[in-house]
């Protein structure tokens, strides 16, 4: 099957070369960090997690969201998702890969990463996160690859795979819940210490992830001549809509709790993010951009006409994706660390090498994704041809 990745148009190779360049730049930046230490980042004693952990948190959601296409297909036998399912599974693989890399580059002593397994510490949420993430990666590799291989051979996937598919479905939310628990169970950080953190994570994941799948499906239609099917995309769009409405509602609940209770320490992070605090307003434009995009997306998604139109749907999905990324990537981390335990403010800004490393990891994720999709689409295409051979029409 792998041979399908080795042949492609000039555009395909150019795209891979472009991603390869970004990966290389990221790698160079990482070498610098390896030598000097995390001091090359914008993180500080007061804001000790930054861009890396933020991207990790966001991508866990993208990975978990694959379940939104896998579940209806395998569980409810929703046939229309037949073509899009493997896209979801392969997206999960590359997203988990990026997650792991983001954790890895965030470690101060990366050569000791195996200490997590050498001294298993069940009272640490990190330990569970490492377990669920690697488990999820393996499950998706197994399911995605086996199903595709069966398709390649022109058969149905073997029945022993069924339990694994169901396990993967149950497993998916767990990776996001456990990641939410990293934040949710910490005392003294008012922005994080909220029981609605895990539900919020899930809602934003189940909107941003499928939104990305829609974007990818629409893209593939144009560049790879692959049509996931109108119905599949529309069903997915509805999933995005409902999850996104929930996501916004959950945020409103947080705001209500903080402001109606009148507890100032709970209000402070929200004030810092949306209005600025003590003369610090570093992230205010980003947060407002995020919520304006969210509002635009909401309107486009709720109105049936704009949801059914592929162009406006693409705009809506892109807005959902960017809005969720800013919300998770910037709001969640800086909001948690601001104000500091001393009620002071230490601004955080990612540095260039830090951004370079992050872009490198994203590029690597898309590199893997491109290759996996190339294989998947190659298999589907050849199969489609044969079906048409056996049928009446021979096209292409």
């Amino acid at each position: 099957m792998i041979e399908k990745a080795l042949t492609g148009s000039k555009k395909y190779w150019l795209w891979l070369a472009f991603l390869g360049t970004l990966i290389f730049i990221g790698f160079l930046c990482y070498l610098l960090q390896w030598k000097i230490g995390l001091g090359i980042t914008g993180m500080s004693r007061d804001v000790s997690w930054g861009f890396y952990i933020a991207n990790f948190t966001f991508l866990v959601g993208v990975a978990a969201s694959a379940v939104m296409v896998v579940l209806p297909y395998y569980w409810h036998n929703y046939k229309d998702f037949g073509k899009i399912t493997v896209l979801g599974e392969f997206l999960a693989i590359s997203a988990v890969l990026m997650c792991m890399l983001f954790i890895f580059v965030d470690l101060g002593q990366p050569n000791r990463v195996l200490n997590v397994l050498r001294y298993p510490t069940p009272n640490s949420v990190f330990f569970f996160d490492a377990c669920v993430l690697s488990g999820y990666l393996l499950l998706n590799l197994l399911c995605g690859w086996t199903v595709l291989h069966a398709e390649y051979k022109g058969t149905k996937y073997p029945s022993w795979l069924k339990p694994f598919i169901y396990l993967a479905i149950l497993w998916a939310p767990s990776i996001h819940i456990v990641t939410a628990f990293i934040y949710q169970g910490i005392p003294g950080r008012h922005f994080w210490l909220t029981a609605i953190m895990a539900p919020r994570f899930l809602a934003s994941a189940f909107s941003a992830g499928p939104a990305l799948i829609i974007i990818l499906a629409l893209l593939l239609k144009r560049v790879a001549n692959f049509d996931a099917g109108q119905k599949a995309i529309q069903t997915l769009a509805k999933i995005v809509t409902y999850a996104f409405v929930l996501n916004l509602l959950f945020f409103f609940f947080e705001v209500f709790t903080a402001f109606y209770s009148g507890i100032q320490s709970h209000q402070a992070p929200i004030k810092y993010l949306f209005a600025g605090l003590h003369g610090h307003a570093e992230w205010v434009p980003f947060m407002w951009a995020s919520y304006i995009l969210a509002f635009i997306a909401l309107i486009l998604l709720v109105i049936p006409a704009t949801r059914k139109n592929e162009t406006t749907l693409a705009v809506a999905c892109l807005s959902v994706f960017i809005a969720a990324w800013i919300d998770k990537g910037i709001g969640l981390i800086t909001g948690g660390y601001t104000p500091t335990p001393f009620e002071t403010i230490t601004p955080y800004r990612p540095t260039l090498p830090e951004i370079g490393i992050a872009i490198g990891i994203w590029a690597l994720g898309f590199f893997v994704l491109t290759i996996l999709y190339k294989i998947a689409l190659g298999v589907k295409e050849s199969k489609e041809l044969r079906v048409k051979y056996q049928g009446v029409l021979i096209k292409k």
């Binding site: 001091g39 004693r45 510490t121 009272n123 003294g188 335990p341």
Partner: protein, 254 residues
């Protein structure tokens, strides 16, 4: 590096000879040093005394602690490392700060902050490698060789007591104390209540160094210990008590 490998070897050799010698004479001439025994070590910091002497003491406690433990002085505030430091009342107790009228007299009062060696420490709970762990006697320890630098503990400590080595700290140590290890980049560190001195029967360095005797060290579980008497007589507060981490550092304010 102020100390060369050769010197270190020499030092090691001397200790070896010393041990052999004391073993030979059967401990008649050298009294073995005994560790201090306690089941819940704690500090009581007399804020009143501390404030009175602050103008003249030159923050001896901080100076001695940092030089004894090879704590680097990094000029960049964002990347600094500190084990014990001074902070104004309103930053040390932001939740009390809201009660302005009640606490007016405490305003701008210096408070010494350090790791609280909490009884229920969140930093220990979250550490994925047990690099941070709690001893029987209540001291919350750091194993620099096991720490992977994930900084989960920094997010979890509600007191901002932990520092991370963003870069190699060694060039920022003015004079290396060869008797205490210096750290490498990428690990977390903090006050460990001078566990190494307690093992030798000595009290923590900050307690010993304070010219005003404003810091008292003792065992909370020992009813006859002086610290318990003081805590009974005086008014003491602890930082962020509402989080029920049960800090072992008490501030005597009245």
């Amino acid at each position: 590096m102020a100390i060369k490998r050769r010197d270190l070897l020499k030092l090691g050799g001397l200790t070896l000879i010393g041990t052999a010698a004391s073993a030979a004479v059967g401990g008649v001439y050298t009294k073995p040093q005994e560790a201090l025994k306690g089941s819940r070590w704690a500090l009581a910091i007399d804020v009143v005394k501390c404030k009175e002497n602050r103008a003249t003491c030159g923050l001896k406690c901080v100076e001695v602690c940092h030089s004894l433990h090879n704590v680097p002085s990094i000029p960049d505030k964002k990347k600094e490392i500190k084990w014990i430091w001074e902070e104004k009342f309103e930053h040390a107790f932001p939740e009390h700060e809201a009660n302005y009228y009640l606490n007016e007299k405490l305003h701008d009062t210096p408070f010494l902050l350090l790791c609280n060696h909490c009884d229920n420490p969140p930093c220990v709970r979250v550490c994925p490698t047990k690099a941070t762990f709690k001893r029987e006697d209540g001291i919350v320890m750091m194993d620099y060789h096991r720490c992977i630098g994930c900084r989960f503990c920094m997010a979890a400590c509600p007191y901002g007591a932990r520092s991370f080595n963003w870069i190699d700290p060694r060039p920022f140590i003015a004079k290396v104390n060869p008797e205490y290890p210096s750290r490498m980049k990428g690990v977390v560190e903090k006050c460990t209540l001078c566990y190494e001195r307690i093992a030798e029967g000595k009290i923590p360095a900050c307690v010993e160094a304070c010219p005003a005797k404003a810091i008292v060290f003792g065992d909370l579980k020992n009813p006859n210990d002086e610290i318990n008497k003081i805590l009974k007589e005086r008014i003491a507060i602890r930082r962020k008590e509402e989080l029920t981490t049960y800090p072992s550092v008490f501030y005597l304010i009245g």
